[in-house]
């Protein structure tokens, strides 16, 4: 039986590291904390500081219990509103803080460290940028410091963090290999979604919605094309189709909503597109929504993506973190050559009592242009020929939104133009619907991808024509063709509302070439990070492994793992000084002994128990020609062996010593034999 009193020892160093690590781990999660959790964390932290400086003692048990119970209680109440994942984060942080204030022995400290690692992992769920990763890696090191400090006594903070960070750094290579080799599994069970505020496009559209997005420079997604990048005017990224209008809000119809809801269990009714396709990969930023982006008739075979009948693609799980998917688009293939009567009805219906003027206008046009194609071009001309203009800050509209826009204000942005066109098209008997998504993209020539930002959000129209299916029409293009052809930046140069919310945004740097270059480089780094780290999946794994070891099979993988395991192990062992390589001492002696042996052959013996310097004197007597050289050699020998020379000096001395040795050897070789009796006197 061994009593473990060592378990009770927590050094002051550890207490300090606990303070540091507490702040380091909780601070990146600050926006996930509920008020209660934050408050309790603060109390615990301040109390801990008090304990550290010896002002207060450990809090009484009942106080900790009270705090824990009340905090858990409030947390249980708000779980439904903050979501299960947030609740888990809060619960862990609470446990972390309360355990922290209570910790009295090493086991507690170790538990705190483990929970700390878990909290770091949770932080990764929320933010996966490269900078955040580096930041969290440092926090990982700090957390490791706590453990190191447990087993070190009487050391400085510096030596602790040096050891901890060295260990983390030395563990990285093996981690990298394992990251490459270990299998990537599909999700094993359903996990609670993050309940975060959705970003990006909303799933309904009001007048004014896209204006809000126009002021955000946040990245929406990136796309890499296998072949040439289509022109800006071709980049209509469809995300949502809004075909139900109640007089103020555009929404998806119930049929498609049901399909989306049941997408988990439904068989897709859409096959691989045929004919010429554009193939590309999209890395979508988190939106906490399900819809994805694709050009025209989009089709994806990536796991967990459902191909909706309206030619959009839909993610089965909410996009809570960056997702990467492959898309095949067929721009030239007709969408819905024949229209289901139910769908047709939806795409023709309008609220009865809304916008009478617009309805009248549509009826007029119908009479004037009986052919739908002619009628549509007349509508488009109407926008061009009348004094409409494009602005992100349109005047207010009344309850008859479209009437006001079409005939009074004549000022607005894509959403206004698109909804008006859909309205009048429907009123004149042409099935039409609104499409929202993004238009355009910024091409990064360095990494060869297109970035689409939130301010590129756009709304346009699709009309159904017999024999042609759904056709894209963009009324905004009639008013501000630059918007479509050259991208959003072209028309808003200098306009106040453009990126008004982000004065310091990187995109403001576009005017300065050098800084813009830097911005693009950073953006490329982020892109490669997304593709190669965040998006590292089974395909990429296979690709990389194939490049590394040729055809992948399990025996090769095991061999690779074993080899890297031992290589890394050897490298670490070497770095911590486990291998004793023969020191320079050995060769020094060897050379000296070799010279002595050579001398002995010529009859000059070094008697036992006589120092090297004394022997030099003997040599002077017996072989005066050789002696000066031998003396210098001996001096170097003594210097190398007994003087603690600095490494550079030792290096130099060693070189000279070696040269002298070879010179001496030839000299001795030429030497006439000396009578051995004489040498012993």
């Amino acid at each position: 039986m061994i009593s473990n009193q060592i378990e009770q020892i927590i050094s002051r160093n550890t207490l300090l590291w606990l303070l540091i690590t507490n702040v380091a781990i909780i601070s990146p999660l600050y926006d996930k904390l509920t008020l209660w959790t934050g408050g309790i964390c603060a109390i615990c932290f301040i109390w801990r500081i008090g304990i550290y400086f010896g002002r207060v003692s450990k809090p009484p048990r009942y106080l900790v219990t009270l705090l824990a119970v009340s905090a858990a209680g409030t947390l249980a109440l708000v779980t439904s509103s903050i979501g299960a994942l947030s609740a888990l984060v809060n619960l862990l942080i609470l446990g972390y803080a309360l355990k922290y204030i209570e910790c009295t022995n090493r086991r507690d400290v170790r538990a705190i460290v483990l929970v700390g690692y878990f909290l770091i992992a949770l932080t990764f769920i929320y933010n996966q940028s490269i900078w955040n990763t580096i930041h969290l890696l440092v926090i990982c090191g700090i957390n490791t410091c706590v453990l190191v400090s447990l087993y070190q006594e009487k050391v400085t903070l510096k030596s602790t963090y040096k050891l901890a960070f060295t260990m983390v750094a030395q563990s990285l290579p093996l981690a990298l290999v394992l990251f490459l080799v270990l299998p990537r599994l599909p999700p094993l069970w359903l996990v609670p979604d993050m309940k975060s505020a959705v970003t990006g496009l909303s799933d309904t559209l009001n007048f004014g919605d896209i204006g809000r997005l126009s002021r955000s420079d946040k990245l929406a997604f990136r796309a890499t094309f296998d072949e040439d990048v289509p022109t800006n005017a071709e980049l209509y990224w469809r995300a949502l189709i809004l075909d139900t209008y109640d007089g103020s809000t555009w929404d998806r119809n119930q049929i498609i909503k049901d399909i989306e809801k049941n997408a988990f269990v439904m068989q897709p009714d859409r096959g691989n597109p045929v004919g010429k396709t554009i193939n590309y990969t999209v890395i979508a930023e988190p939106t906490h929504q399900n819809w994805l982006y694709g050009l025209d008739q989009a089709f994806s075979q990536t796991d967990d993506i459902y191909n909706l009948p309206d030619y959009r693609i839909y993610s089965l799980r909410a996009v809570d973190q960056k997702v990467q998917y492959r898309v095949k688009s067929a721009p030239n293939q007709a969408m819905d050559k024949s229209l289901h009567p139910r769908i047709k009805e939806i795409n023709l219906s309008l609220p009865d009592d809304s916008n009478p003027k617009a309805k009248l206008f549509a009826q007029d046009m119908r009479e004037k242009y009986p052919s739908p194609v002619d009628r549509l071009s007349a509508f488009m001309r109407y926008f061009r020929d009348n004094p409409f203009y494009y602005t992100l800050e349109p005047p207010r509209v009344g309850p008859q939104q479209i009437d006001d826009f079409l005939f009074t204000n004549k000022a607005g942005y894509c959403a206004h133009y698109a909804s008006s066109l859909v309205f009048i098209a429907r009123a004149s008997g042409i099935p039409a619907r609104m499409v929202t998504g993004y238009q355009g993209g910024e091409y990064n020539p360095k990494a060869g991808y297109v970035s689409v930002y939130q301010y590129m959000a756009h709304a346009w129209v699709e009309v159904w024509l017999k024999g042609q299916g759904w056709i894209r029409l963009d009324p905004t293009g009639m008013i501000a063709p630059e918007r479509v052809n050259e991208g959003f930046d072209a028309i808003f140069e200098g306009e106040e509302s453009y990126l008004r919310d982000s004065i310091f945004s990187g995109l403001q740097l576009k005017q300065f070439p050098l800084l813009n270059e830097l911005r693009l480089t950073l953006s490329s780094i982020d892109y490669y990070w997304s593709v190669w780290v965040l998006g590292f999946d089974n395909d990429k794994q296979e690709q990389v492994l194939q490049d590394l070891i040729g055809k992948v099979d399990s025996s090769k993988l095991i061999a690779l793992m074993l080899v890297s395991l031992s290589l890394v192990g050897i490298a670490i062992s070497y770095s911590v000084g486990l291998f004793h390589f023969p020191s320079r001492q050995e060769p020094i002696n060897r050379l000296y002994v070799r010279i002595l042996n050579a001398l002995a052959k010529k009859g000059i013996h070094k008697p036992q128990g006589i120092g090297p310097n004394d022997f030099v004197e003997q040599v002077y007597k017996l072989a005066p020609d050789l002696a000066p050289d031998f003396e210098r050699f001996t001096q170097n020998y003594i210097a190398l062996k007994y003087q603690n020379l600095p490494s550079t000096a030792a290096q130099k001395c060693w070189h000279v010593y070696r040269k002298q040795a070879s010179k001496l050897r030839t000299a001795i070789f030429r030497l006439r034999s000396v009578d051995s009796d004489k040498s012993n006197t």
């Binding site: 009593s3 690692y117 070190q152 260990m167 780290v533 911590v576």
Partner: protein
């Protein structure tokens, strides 16, 4: 419930002893006893500690967590933690590798006292938080901690529970370390050939009782020594008026000051302490009493001999004699009951 527990415990204990016997045999071959031992790969064992197992659990948990959220960074973190475990193995080994241990003579103790065995630890590379204990001791023992071991030897006392009189071999010394992260336990069992003779517990008694009958007139003196001329005893400070004949001139010449040579001579016949095991009742008590008597006589610097059954130690005095007598007493065969059969 308690009973069931006990049988379980006993069974486990039996298995343990079986296993231990085999294991110790293997250890004796692999790591033979020596007063100097330097730990190397032959003698260091490493396995994950309990915390290491929990740590690995966290690695798995994070891997599943990352898989379910399809988050490569969480998976990466779990792999990094696994890799740290691997790094830790090397560091744990390094902490003990090259550690030199040397057993030192232990202090003399009586039965019933806690023993402590000192040893010197040193390490060229330096070792942190080395724990030492005697795991095969019966009863609770404390772990001794050497917080930092460097080139200069540090003395560490490892305690051992009190034992009855006799020769004590504490068994293998366990050297343990959880440095640097507590994930791995590196340990070794070394036999430093430590041995100690634990003297019987002294019990106060009358001295004369067992003394051999003697008709000498000066019986009362019982081998007491008085200042005399026969036997050189030692040196003491010179006091004015003492005979100059006894001044240690040699020491004076060496500059050690004026000292006087002391001589003693025994007064009366030496005392014989005896014990007849076949006749004595309360055998152990007798032994304890004899121990006390030996100590007492030694303190008063008297001549005494020891005679137990067929062991005879001729009368003498001094530290060496005391040890010889106490050793003889300690090593007397033990009897279970009060009376020897």
């Amino acid at each position: 419930m308690v009973k069931a527990n006990n049988t379980k415990k006993r069974k486990r204990l039996w298995l343990n002893t079986q296993f231990r016997a085999r294991w110790l045999k293997w250890m004796d071959k692999r790591l033979p006893a020596n007063r100097h031992i330097q730990l190397s790969h032959r003698s260091i064992f490493i396995l994950p500690s309990k915390f290491g197992v929990v740590w690995f659990g966290l690695v798995i948990l994070l891997y599943l967590f990352g898989t379910n959220y399809q988050n490569n960074l969480v998976i990466g973190l779990s792999i990094l933690l696994a890799s740290i475990l691997h790094t830790c193995i090397i560091y744990s080994y390094r902490n003990l590798a090259g550690l030199k241990l040397q057993s030192m003579p232990a202090a003399q103790v009586y039965a019933g006292d806690t023993l402590s065995f000192p040893s010197h630890l040193s390490s060229e590379k330096g070792a942190n938080e080395v724990l030492l204990s005697y795991p095969f001791a019966q009863g609770e023992v404390d772990q001794s901690i050497a917080p930092q071991v460097k080139q200069a030897p540090v003395k560490v006392l490892v305690s051992y529970p009190s034992t009855p009189r006799g020769r004590v071999n504490p068994g293998r010394l366990k050297i343990e370390s959880y440095y640097p992260l507590g994930l791995c336990r590196a340990w070794s069992y070394v036999d430093l050939a430590t041995e100690l003779i634990v003297y019987p517990t002294p019990v106060e008694s009358k001295i004369a009782l067992n003394a051999q009958q003697s008709n000498n007139q000066q019986e009362n003196h019982h081998g007491r020594q008085v200042a005399g001329i026969d036997e050189y005893q030692g040196l003491k400070e010179y006091v004015k008026g003492e005979s100059l004949k006894q001044v240690a001139w040699k020491q004076l010449a060496q500059g050690k000051g004026m000292l006087t040579k002391e001589f003693q001579q025994p007064l009366g016949a030496p005392i014989w302490l005896t014990l007849d095991s076949s006749q004595s009742r309360n055998y152990e008590t007798k032994i304890s009493e004899l121990t006390w008597q030996v100590e007492k006589l030694h303190q008063s610097n008297q001549l005494f001999g020891l005679k137990i059954d067929n062991i005879t130690i001729e009368p003498s005095h001094g530290e060496g004699h005391r040890h010889a007598c106490l050793e003889a007493l300690s090593l007397l065969p033990k009897f279970d009951g009060g009376t020897p059969s």
